[in-house]
Each structure stands twice: as structure tokens, then as C-alpha cells.
Amino acid sequence: MSAPLLQVKAVETYYGNIRALNGVDVEVHRGEIVCLIGANGAGKSTLMMTICGSPQARTGAVMFEGEEITRMPTHEIARLRIAQSPEGRRIFPRMTVFENLQMGASLDNLKYFNEDVEKVFTLFPRLKERQAQRGGTLSGGEQQMLSIARALMARPKLLLLDEPSLGLAPLIVKGIFEAIKKLNKEEGLTVFLVEQNAFGALKLSDRGYVMVNGRVTMSGSGKELLANPEVRAAYLEGGRH
């Protein structure tokens, strides 16, 4: 296999003196959907944020397309076409849906805006209906769609999704996961997602990593992990949707 698109090598990240990530190794190859599952406080979101350079890893390295991005500021990492739908969605509440999407396309200064906006509106027709509405007035699911759509407007090589299912009704989660799958299949978009909803995430993904206390304890294909008795016991029993 060729060199991975994203490679996280022995990364340790600290909050003050507290070690949140303890030597994490993760690889994401082109065209894959990779998920990272784990319990609350395992360090999933920290890994996501470390990839984006805020906070930066204290040791280890983050490589993107073979170049080290460990010490780059967040906005420059974003300019390498690593788009993120951050935890808590973080849409711009007083700006309209349309303006939110414009912000997503600001890397190319709206050069491909018109064609891309049609694409995301086909992917999420709800956003088209709501395009003149202020972001803050959308429902949780619509905000999540907007957050993903805004990330897509940057024409990303790698899409990072931090808990896209958080706080959403199962039916809406299903819709969002389907949209991600579609993007991956039709556009060949590489996706790395962090999820607590282990069942849905593993089913969606080509490969998965399991994180416990700042370490990756297990990895394998989505199917393998779904079948693994330890994973089932820890994350799936009772958690099935």
C-alpha cells in the first residue's frame, strides 16, 4: 500500500501536566473511512484536535501527505485541505446557512462556490430549504449537516468528523452516516471520524481503532472489531441502535 494520507506517530499530547494522549499511532489511507471509538475521556477528541494543531503534540509527529504538520498553526493545517466538523458543530449562529457555507469556501475565495453549493444541497436537501435561515435557528441535526457541509465546501482531501451523532435522534444519525458513506463511495473522500456510537461507526468504517485512556488498544477492520468479544462487551452491548 502507498504511504498513508494521514499518519499519527507516537503522539503524546498534554493539557498542562496531564497527559491526554500516550503514544498514539493511527494511519488513514486515501479513500478510507476510519473511525476511532472509545469511552468518554479516552482522548478521542484530543487526538482530533492534535491533528489540527490545537493543542500541539509534545512528542511524536503528525504527517499529512508525507509532510510533517505537527508544529503548524491550525489555519495553515486547514489550508492543506484537512477540513473538520468540530465537536459541538460550531456553526456560526447569527450568519445564515448560505453565509456559513460561504465561510467554508473561503480558502479558494469562493472560486468553486456555485458548483460546490449545489453538491452539498443535493447531499443535504434540508439545507437548501433552510439556506436563508440563521444557523442558530436550525435543529441539532440540521446544524450537524451544516457543519459537515461547511467542511465539504473547502474541497477537503481529508474530512475529520468529531462525534457527528452527538445528541441527535437515531433516524437523523442514520441519514448523516449514509451521507458520509455516499461521499466516500462517489467522491472517494477520505474520512476520519471519532464516535461514541460504536456500532454505527464501525459498520460505516473500513477500519477502526479503539482508544482507552489515551492509548490505542485495538485496531482492525470494522467487521473484525464488531465481532470482537471485548469490543462488544465494552462498547456495543446495550448500546445498539
Binding site: 489540527c52 490545537s54 498553526p73 491550525t74 489555519h75 495553515e76 486547514a78 489550508r79 477540513a83 473538520q84 468540530p86 460550531r90 456553526i91 456560526f92 449562529p93 447569527r94 450568519m95 445564515t96 448560505f98 453565509e99 460561504q102 465561510m103 467554508g104 473561503s106 480558502l107 475565495n109 469562493l110 453549493v117 430549504e129 433552510r130 439556506q131 436563508a132 435561515q133 440563521r134 442558530g136 435557528t137 461547511r150 473547502a154
Partner: protein, 461 residues
């Protein structure tokens, strides 16, 4: 039919009776409250003895005001408000058609402002126009421009700046000092003042890049004070508290506004009056303010303006979209400061005198209050707020008839801050987002779609 008429008539007399009753109560309560505070005043007589002055006349005015006010409130204001509320609830389902006046408000306002000086001249004559053009026109427009400048920093980029007056001071002193020491003309120094203020905006910007909200507010407040203290203490250059006086006036394409043979009045065949200079200044500040508005409107539609607004909403999301928050913040500070600098240079040329006293914290507070009252980000709202606040304080100076009631020592303009504060509380209770609280979106897909009302309501999309 007759039945209904009689019930409404009896309801009317009921209301009047209730209003009268409440008016009497209000009068009694205010009598009890004010009898010691207002009715009696302790004073010293010539032998340093304590004497009590009785002020029954003043007390009765207080009581009458309270009683009449309560009567009007109960009998007329409250029913009217209830009716309006009911009418509004009924009309809410109907799509509101904006009136012609509302839709073209800004265009009408600009035209009205352009014709303001000639109309005033025609109405009150050359000498009488001084007060109206200078005190009301120019004074209000200076604050409109300052508030629009601050609006870029506070309203668009969301960076709370309590030291905006510092840039106003930088602009004013840039013009005052460079013109007295080097004899440069206003038209050269106007952009220079803007550039210098923008430069100081960047200087302020760098150390506060990591701060937000309250912390940023405190640092900017300190910055404003530092500039003022430098102006006071750097006496060799700024002449300290004495200020710089005799600042050169502006010229119109080299034509001076003085009594000389080639002055403006002589050339136009008019009798010499300072009113023409004031009218010239009026158009100058009007042009500067409109420039500020134009630039703000244009920038909002450009990437940098969108980035400012996004920055106000969510800094982390901005970074994750590849926006450099450092340059975005610095440009916001610099652009806002530049307009403050322009306004400062204009202030210096208008007064002919600058001293640090004009640039106290209160000025920053007033400008910020105008921005907040008008509705952050809304140019129209801010202009209205400036007209109300600054025009209001100017009107206070005109209320000399109040001396007849409160005695000859009464100076209404001393109550300016009290009224200011009251007005702010009232506006914030009634319209928490300012006069114009809804944000106008900058971009639409194809046709505009109707968006109803404020941001709290759902729009039809």
C-alpha cells in the same frame, strides 16, 4: 346593540375612576417619599447655623407630576399598549409589507442631510444657522462616524474595545501637531492621521490577540488611558493640558474661509460669516461618515468582512476553516482605528484646538453606548442612536425654561449622564439588541427570500 354601547361606556368611566384613584395614591406616595428629600432642605445661614428651607412649591410639582403621570399611564398609555399588542398578535400571521419610507430610509436620510444646511439657512438666516449646523449637524455626524468606525471592531469583529477614543486622539493630535510644526495642509494630513491611527490600532492589536471579552475590554481601556496620559505628560511636544491651539483651518481647493480678498465669502460675493465654514465642515464630515458606511458595507461582502463576522461568532471554527485569526483581528483593529483617526483629524480642524480633556474614557463609553443602543452591526440603528443621544444632549442645553421651575442655578446639561443612563436601561429592556437588532445577511442564493422579524423567530425559507 345599545347594551354593548353602554358596557363600553361604563368600562370607560370605570377606567377613568380607576386612573383617578391610582393617581391619588401615586400623589400620596410621592408626597410621603419627597416631603423630607425635596420639601425641606437643610442649609447654613450667614452665622453658620443650620436652617431648614421649605420648598413647598417644588414639592408640589413633584407630586403633581407623579399623579398626572400615573393618571395618563393608567387611563391612556396602558389601554393603548394593550390594544397595540392585540393588533400585533392579529397581524403577525400576515406578511408585513414594508412601507416606502422604511424601505428607502437610508436614501431618504442621506438626501435630507444633503439639503439640511441650505434649508436651515433659508429658515433661520446666516447667523441663526450656526447653532443648527454646528451643534446639531456636525456634532452628531462626528459621533455617527466614530460609532460607525467602532462598529467595525465591536459590531462586526466582536472585539470589545473600551479605548476607542485613543484613536480619535491620535488622529486629532496627528493633525494638530503636524500642521502646527510643519505647516502641512488638512488634505494631506487627513490620510496621514488615518494611517497613524491604523498603525496604533495594530500596536494595540498585537498584545491583545489572545484576549477576548472582558479581558480584552480591560486592556483596551488601559490603552485609551495610556494615550491620554502620554498626551498630558509629553509636554515638550503636546503642550500637556494646555493643549494645542491655533490649528489651521481646512481649505476648499485652496480657498480659505476667512475675511481676506480671496477668501470664500469674498469670492462668492457673500457677506463674511463663519457659518459658511461650518456648512463646509458639515459637508466634509458628512462625506467622511458616508465613506465609513460605504467601506463597511463593501467590506461586509468581501472575504475579510465575512471573516470578521465569523470571528465574532466562533474563533475556533474560523481557524478550522483556514482563516488566519491574527491578521483578521489586526485588520479589524486597524480599519476601525483608521476611521477614528479621520474623525479625530476632523475634530481638530473643526475646533481649532485640541487638549487631552477631549479624549477621556467617557467619550469611549459614549461611542460604545451608541453602538450598543443602535444595534451592533447595524449602520442605520447606530446613526439613529447617535442622533438621539448626541442630539438629546444638545437639546438639554436649550431647555432654559426649566430654570423657571428649578431655580436659576439649574443647568439641565448636568443631568446628561443621568438621562443617558436611564435611556440605556429603557432601550435595553425594550429592545435588548438595540434599535435595529436583526442582522442583514450579505448573500443569498438567486432570489431573496422573505425573512421575518428578528433573529429569534424562524424565517420562511
Amino acid at each position: 346593540m345599545a347594551n354593548i354601547a353602554s358596557t363600553s361606556a361604563s368600562a370607560g368611566s370605570d377606567l377613568t375612576a380607576r386612573a383617578l384613584r391610582e393617581a391619588v395614591f401615586a400623589g400620596l406616595i410621592s408626597l410621603g417619599l419627597f416631603v423630607l428629600f425635596v420639601g425641606l432642605k437643610s442649609d447654613q445661614n450667614i452665622r453658620n447655623e443650620l436652617v431648614l428651607n421649605q420648598r413647598w412649591g417644588l414639592l408640589s410639582i413633584f407630586v403633581i407630576v407623579a399623579a398626572v403621570g400615573r393618571f395618563l399611564m393608567v387611563a391612556y398609555v396602558q389601554p393603548a399598549m394593550a390594544r397595540r399588542k392585540a393588533a400585533k398578535a392579529e397581524a403577525d400571521s400576515v406578511v408585513k409589507e414594508e412601507t416606502f419610507f422604511k424601505r428607502h430610509f437610508s436614501k431618504i436620510a442621506i438626501v435630507a442631510l444633503i439639503f439640511y444646511p441650505p434649508v436651515i439657512l433659508a429658515l433661520v438666516g446666516v447667523q441663526g444657522s450656526l447653532k443648527w449646523v454646528d451643534n446639531f449637524g456636525v456634532q452628531i455626524l462626528i459621533y455617527v462616524m466614530l460609532a460607525w468606525g467602532l462598529n467595525i471592531v465591536v459590531g462586526l469583529a466582536g472585539l470589545l474595545d473600551l479605548g476607542y477614543v485613543a484613536f480619535y486622539a491620535v488622529g486629532a493630535y496627528s493633525y494638530a501637531l503636524l500642521s502646527t510644526y510643519f505647516g502641512l495642509s488638512f488634505w494631506i494630513l487627513l490620510p496621514v492621521a488615518g494611517i497613524l491611527a491604523a498603525f496604533w490600532g495594530m500596536i494595540l492589536g498585537f498584545p491583545v490577540l489572545r484576549l477576548r471579552g472582558d479581558y480584552l475590554a480591560i486592556v483596551t481601556l488601559a490603552f485609551g488611558e495610556i494615550i491620554r496620559l502620554v498626551l498630558i505628560n509629553w509636554t515638550e511636544v503636546t503642550k500637556g493640558t494646555f493643549g494645542v491651539s491655533g490649528i489651521a483651518k481646512a481649505t476648499l481647493f485652496g480657498i480659505k474661509f476667512d475675511a481676506s480678498k480671496d477668501g470664500f465669502a469674498a469670492m462668492m460675493g457673500l457677506s463674511m460669516s463663519s457659518a459658511y465654514y461650518k456648512i463646509f465642515l458639515f459637508y466634509l464630515i458628512l462625506a467622511l461618515a458616508l465613506l465609513t458606511a460605504y467601506v463597511t458595507i463593501r467590506l461586509r461582502r468581501m472575504p475579510i468582512g465575512r471573516a470578521w463576522e465569523a470571528l465574532r461568532e466562533d474563533e475556533i471554527a474560523c481557524r478550522s476553516l483556514g482563516i488566519n485569526t491574527v491578521t483578521t483581528k489586526l485588520t479589524a483593529f486597524a480599519t476601525g482605528a483608521m476611521f477614528g483617526g479621520f474623525a479625530g483629524a476632523f475634530f481638530a480642524v473643526r475646533q481649532g484646538f485640541v487638549s487631552p480633556e477631549s479624549f477621556v474614557f467617557l467619550e469611549s463609553a459614549v461611542i460604545l453606548a451608541i453602538v450598543v443602543l443602535g444595534g451592533m452591526g447595524s449602520l442605520t440603528g447606530i446613526a439613529i442612536a447617535a442622533a438621539v443621544m448626541i442630539g438629546g444632549t444638545e437639546i438639554l442645553r436649550e431647555l432654559s425654561f426649566l430654570k423657571a421651575i428649578f431655580g436659576p442655578d439649574f443647568t439641565p446639561e448636568l443631568y446628561r449622564m443621568l438621562i443617558f443612563g436611564l435611556a440605556m436601561v429603557v432601550v435595553m429592556v425594550w429592545k435588548p439588541r438595540g434599535f435595529v437588532g436583526s442582522r442583514e445577511p450579505t448573500a443569498f442564493l438567486r432570489e431573496r427570500k422573505a425573512i421575518s422579524g428578528s433573529f429569534t423567530k424562524e424565517g420562511h425559507g
